[in-house]
Each structure stands twice: as C-alpha cells, then as structure tokens.
C-alpha cells in the first residue's frame, strides 16, 4: 500500500505527504483521492469553514424575512448585497475588499472569487459537460489555436470516475461534440422547455436533457434530489455536488486530511535543489506568517490565483516565478463567450401555475449542433445554449416588468397571473480561442491587505468570438420568433457591448497550460510542473483551450488523474 511509503503515525505530521492549496473543485478532488489512498494531506483554504446548516437557505421563502430577501439593510436595493441575491450562498463575489486586483488600460475583466471551504462549488450552476476529441484536437481540423497534449481516450476513464462519484444527470444521445457519460436519470422537461424543444426541432437545434451534477438516486449516503429547485442557494442534502460536502467533509473522516482554514497561501517554498518543500501562508485570524511542509505541493487555488502564487514564488533558481521558464504562467487566459437574449411568449400566458418539480436551472440544454458547418459559419468553434423560463422563484424586483403599464388595482393581479411563466431567456456559452492580448501578471505597484502582490488583468476577444456572439444573437432571436414570441432584450448587464465582459461567465482557465514541450507550457499532461517534479496545478489553469463545455467536470477529472499519477510517482519514489 501507498501508506507504507508515506508518513506514519500522528495525523498531523511535521511534513505532510501532500500540501494542497484551495478547497474548491480541484483541491477537493485531489485531497479526497490522496487521503483515500492513505496519504497525509494538508489542505489550505483562504476562506473560513462552511457550516451548511447555517449558510444554506434553499428552503426559505422571502416572507421568512422582514426584508423579503432584499437582504439585511435592504442591501439588494442598493447594489450592496451578495451577488445573485441574499438567498444565494456565495461567500465571495466580484470584489473581495481585502484582495483587490487591477485591470490594464484598455481592458475589461472581472474576477469572481469565493473564499470558503468548497470554493465556488457550493453554488455553481453544476452544468457538467465532457470535452470531446473534437474539442481536444480542434487544431487538427481547423488549424486554429493549440491542441491538447491528451486525447479523449486519456480523459474518458476519469470522466467516468468523476461522474460516478459526483453524480451527473443526462441521457445517451450519441452527439460527437458532446460525449455521453455515466448518467443519473434527468428530471422531465417543464412545459416551456417542451415548447422550446419542439421549436428547436423545426430549426435543427437539438434540445436534450441537461447534464448537471445533481443526483436523482441516492449514492454514498447522499439523498436523491428532492426537487426544491434552488441549487444555487446550496444544497443541505448534498444532492447537488459541492466539493465541501462531497469531497472534503467525507475525506476529513479518514483522519488523513488536515484542513487549515483562513490560511492564505502566499508562495510555494523551494529548496536549494529546486524542489518544492511546502507553502508559505498567512493566517488571516492572527496575521501571522506560517509555513506548512510537504513532500509534494498541489496548487488548486483557482485559475489566475494559482498563477498568482507561482508568479509570487520567486527565488534565485526561479527569478520569473516558479515553473515559469516558458514564460507561460499567467498567459493564455480564457473565459467563455456569453450572450443572452430574452423574450416574451404569448403562447405561455395564463398557464395553470404548477409545482415545477425538478432541480434548479433548466432541465434541457442544446449542445453545439453546427460542428460540420464551420467553413460557412465564419467562426471556428461552437457554443451550447442554456435557457430559462417557467414559474421562477419570485423575489423583490421580479414583478416590475409584468406590472408595468397595468396601472393600479385588480388589473395588476390579473396581469401578473397572466404573464407569470411567459418569459424566456436564452444564453450562449461559447469557446474562446487563446490570444496574446489576454493574460494576467503581477501588478508591480499594488499589494493586497495581506501584503501579497496582486494580479493585473489584460483581456480581449478576437473576431472569432465576436462573430460567434452575433450568431448567438441571431439564433436566439430566431428561436423566440419561432415560438411566436417577441424579443424583449439583448444582452444582460455584462453584455452591453454585444459580448460578455471577460471573466463574467466565471469560466476562466488557461494560465498554466499543459503540454509536452517545456518551452511552451507550464505543466505536463498530468498537471505536473515541467520544472518542479513535486509540484502540480490541478485547477482550470492547466487547460489548453476553453471549449464551450463549462470547466468544472473537467477540473474534477484532471485533478483525479493527477492524483493517481502523483500517488504512483510517490510510490516509485519519483517525486
């Protein structure tokens, strides 16, 4: 057993087998897998502990609160509330007061960070899509951007493992750009979704069961989803995956995992021979600088943040930052391309209000359907469609549009009844090609409240993305028209220019990409640093491209794969 080679005895050794930074999707997976193999793991998390029973509000109604969900102090009215509203579990947001970042002149970029055990997985959308061979080797087809050094055959076994463990809904469709997986049964489509599906058929757009990390049969002591439909608020029954409840809490029970919260990693420590020997961090409660030592170090502090730690880990041996001989740390920053169009569909007016059983978010989505048409489309890569509608949870602000122009009196009530459920919205989520204008670097002038130099972002979409966004716009308008509806808005608050602001889709990846050539990549295909054998990066930083598939399932799979590789290397004495 691995155990024999690893630290024996006390559960808190002086030198851990593995020090992991960041308790999100990547770090949670890594910690659980390694602890499960008997390794002694220290997991550093910048945020506090998570107590789901106190934090999660998925079964609350607005009228449980005097402020009706506007938040204490009416924060929701004044732009001061939590992102996505009071009921959401976030523990972070677009701005962290003690951890600023800067944006270079001429760029726009926003960076959503969570600081809590579980990271952003406590409330993420849980859309879980596999990359395909078509995605991984896209350059072979169109000559644009880089290929991944791994193919679908390398990833598939780990997608299988991750899906079996996490639980993902879906159906077998045989669509080449959207490989099938190991699925839980999805909830049935809602009424408006069936309407959209039928219209999609006419237009040649396939709407299929959504693939979300929610279980619909009980596994590993987690209850099947009880269909309260509020996944974004956190899930008390852990039926919706979160790294905190599904990876980290169970891993703590092995006795092999030591969780250090409020521990803000600053840099990776290296010894004279250039190996990583631990992590220097700041205890946020005491402001003390501390170190934790390990035989291997895994960064999973989220894309950009892991790049920041590497760039801040400067030494004589690594003057440009750790593992940065290629100069690629921070480069190739990508987000997803987003554009949304909303509409009003008279055919849905006055539907009897029913209890829309199911999980949060849509029960259907459309995987990219135009994969054979790129030559005539004029942009190289695809997008998928997410959409919303139906009887949504009302909150403050949600009735204004419906009641506008209805004056006052009984008419308002009649009109609200009439139009509840008649609004739909379509959002495209498309692939961005990495470009040299999009990257992050250390801002030479600014440090955060913990004295750590902060990131400065540069970001630009190219023609590829702009053309894709226009295609989204036309497509969604077409769908709404085909539904017999009228378009009520193009672009949300982040999309005023006609394309999403960089970072606003919260799918940032690429800042320490993998590859076989150490001159053009930071990591090898197992997320191991080319230059530092006992250093791994297992969040979205390792991505080579950013296909239209939301990144988290791939982070889970790659992190699991890296953990197996690391354990084997440790067993052989290679790291």
């Amino acid at each position: 057993m691995l155990n024999a080679l690893m630290t024996q005895g006390s559960s808190k050794p002086d030198v851990f087998d593995v020090v992991v930074v960041g308790a999100g999707a990547g770090g949670g997976t890594m910690s659980r897998v390694m602890a499960g193999k008997g390794a002694k793991v220290a997991l550093l998390e910048a945020g506090p502990k998570l107590v789901p029973e106190e934090e999660f509000k998925e079964h609350d109604w607005p009228y449980h609160y005097d402020h009706r969900g506007a938040g204490p102090g009416g924060a929701g009215y004044f732009g001061r509330g939590k992102p996505f509203g009071f009921m959401r579990t976030t523990s972070g947001g677009w701005e962290l007061p003690d951890e600023p970042y800067t944006v270079g002149a001429g760029s726009e970029f926003v960076w959503f960070r969570s600081r809590i055990v579980g990271g952003r997985t406590n409330h993420y959308g849980r859309m879980s899509f596999r990359l395909s061979e078509w995605d991984l080797k896209a350059r072979d087809r169109d000559g644009v951007g880089p290929n991944w050094p791994i193919g679908y055959a390398d990833l598939a076994p780990y997608y299988d493992k991750a899906e079996k463990f996490i639980g993902v809904t879906g159906t077998h469709e045989g669509i080449p750009s959207a490989p099938d997986g190991v699925f839980h049964e999805p909830p049935p489509p809602k009424a408006h979704e069936l309407l959209v599906q039928a219209t999609g058929k006419k237009l040649g757009i396939p709407f299929i069961a959504n693939r979300r990390a929610v279980i619909t049969r009980s596994i590993n002591g987690r209850a099947a989803c009880h269909y309260c439909g509020q996944c974004g608020r956190g899930c008390l029954t852990a039926s919706a995956y979160s790294a905190s409840q599904v990876d980290i809490f169970p891993a703590l029970k092995t006795g092999n995992l030591t969780l250090l919260t409020d521990a803000m990693a600053r840099e990776v420590l290296t010894n004279a021979s250039g190996k990583a020997e631990g992590v220097l961090y700041i205890d946020r409660n005491t402001r003390q600088v501390k170190r934790v030592l390990g035989k291997a170090v895994v960064l999973a502090a989220s894309t950009c943040e892991s790049a920041r730690i590497l760039l801040n880990s400067k030494s004589k041996l690594f003057p440009n930052g750790l593992a940065n001989g290629s100069g690629m740390v921070g480069r190739n920053l990508m987000d997803t391309v987003g554009l949304s169009v909303s509409g009003y569909v008279p055919a849905l007016e006055g539907m009897p209000v029913y209890n829309t059983d199911g999980f949060g978010g849509s029960h259907l989505y459309a995987p990219w359907w135009g994969y054979n048409d790129h030559a005539k489309l004029g942009f190289p890569r695809g997008y998928h469609i997410e959409f919303g509608g139906g009887f949504r949870m009302p909150g403050v602000h949600s009735g204004h549009n419906a009641a506008r122009r209805a004056g006052y009196g009984k008419r308002i009530k009649e009109w609200m009844r009439q139009e509840y459920g008649a609004r739909v919205g379509f959002a495209g989520r498309g692939e961005m090609i990495p470009n040299r204008f999009s990257y992050c670097e250390i801002d030479p002038a600014i440090v955060d409240d913990w004295g750590i130099p902060v990131l400065r972002f540069h970001f630009k979409f190219s023609d590829y993305e702009w053309k894709q966004a226009r295609h989204m716009e036309e497509t969604f308008k077409g769908i709404i028209e085909s539904l017999g509806g009228r378009v009520t808005g193009v672009g949300n608050a982040w999309e005023k220019s006609g394309i999403s602001t960089g970072g606003s889709i919260i799918h940032e990846v690429g800042t320490a990409r993998m590859g076989t050539d150490p001159r053009s990549s930071v990591l090898n295909p197992y997320c191991q640093a080319h230059e530092v054998k006992n250093l791994f990066v297992t969040d979205g930083s390792c991505f080579v491209t950013n296909p239209d598939k939301n990144p988290t399932l791939t982070i889970n799979a790659l992190s699991w794969r890296a953990a197996d590789y690391l354990a084997e290397a440790m067993r052989k004495g290679d790291v």
Binding site: G74, Y227, I412
Partner: protein, 160 residues
C-alpha cells in the same frame, strides 16, 4: 414551504437529520415576522401608505390584498434603509398626495369616498412609463415597492 413540498421531502428519503432541518424551516414559516415596529414613517403616514398599497393591489375574490399582506411595513423597512434623498421622496410624495386630495376634495385622502380616491390614483398613475410630475414619480416608486412587498408575502406567493 408548502406542506406538499415538505411531505415530498420526507418521502424522498431524506436522511433523518435533514428532515429535522426541513422541520425547522417549516417552523420558521409559522413564525413569519410579526410584531414589527415602524422605523421610518409615523402611524399617520403608515395608515395612508397602507391604503395606497391596497388601492394598487386590492383584495379580490382570488386573494387578499396589500393591506392583509402588511406591505406598508415592508416599505417602511426599506425606506428606513434608504438614502436621505429617497426618504425625502417618500415623505414629500405622501404630503403632495394629501395636498392634492385637500385641494380637489377638501378632505384628507383617507376620508375621501372611494370614487374620489380613485380619481387621484388615476391622475398620479397616468404617465407610468415616463413620469414627470412629483406625484407621477412618487406613484412609480410606490408601485414598485408595493409589488415587491406583495409578491414576496405569503399570500402574494401562494394565493395571488
């Protein structure tokens, strides 16, 4: 939570401790906020506000209205959190409405017969999309908060 949802939760085989949590939340429902004390408006203003919200969302065969849902108290709370200029808009708005009533009908608004109150409501709601006068602007903010308060109340939620 609706009883149906709660029962489903139990039926879905939710682990015992989870049911306890769900139970606590059911209990919270029974204890929805009450005993609220006015924070910004005085009693007189609150009575006027209460009537105005009920005119915007009246009780009907279908469901109770804004009065039963205590929407004026929600508005009081939100106004109490607002910046002074917004607070002024509310106090000035209420006063202007009172003046309008006295000028036109020589009575305080609350003493006007329903038809008169309705005439005033018609006047102030005329330009909902592009309000220009102080009273038209007041109507817009009044209506927005009334809708927020009503459609997040228990009756607004479950019976409207």
């Amino acid at each position: 939570m609706k009883r149906r949802t709660a029962l489903k939760l139990v039926a879905a085989g939710v682990a015992a401790e989870r049911v306890q949590i769900a139970g606590r939340q059911l209990f919270a429902l029974a204890q929805a906020p009450s005993g609220y004390k006015l924070r910004f408006f005085n009693d007189e203003q609150n009575l006027l506000l209460d009537r105005l919200t009920e005119l915007i969302i009246p009780a009907d065969d279908h469901s109770p209205g804004a009065h039963a849902a205590k929407v004026s108290l929600f508005i009081d709370l939100m106004v109490s959190y607002s910046k002074p200029d917004v607070q002024d808009q509310w106090t000035h708005g209420l006063r202007a409405l009172e003046n309008e009533s006295r000028e036109r009908f020589r009575k305080p608004f609350l003493e006007c017969v329903a038809a008169w109150q309705d005439q005033i409501m018609q006047t102030i709601s005329r330009n909902e999309d592009h309000p220009t006068t102080e009273l038209e602007k007041f109507f817009r903010i009044l209506k927005s908060r009334t809708i927020d308060g009503y459609y997040t109340s228990e009756s607004g939620f479950t019976r409207s």
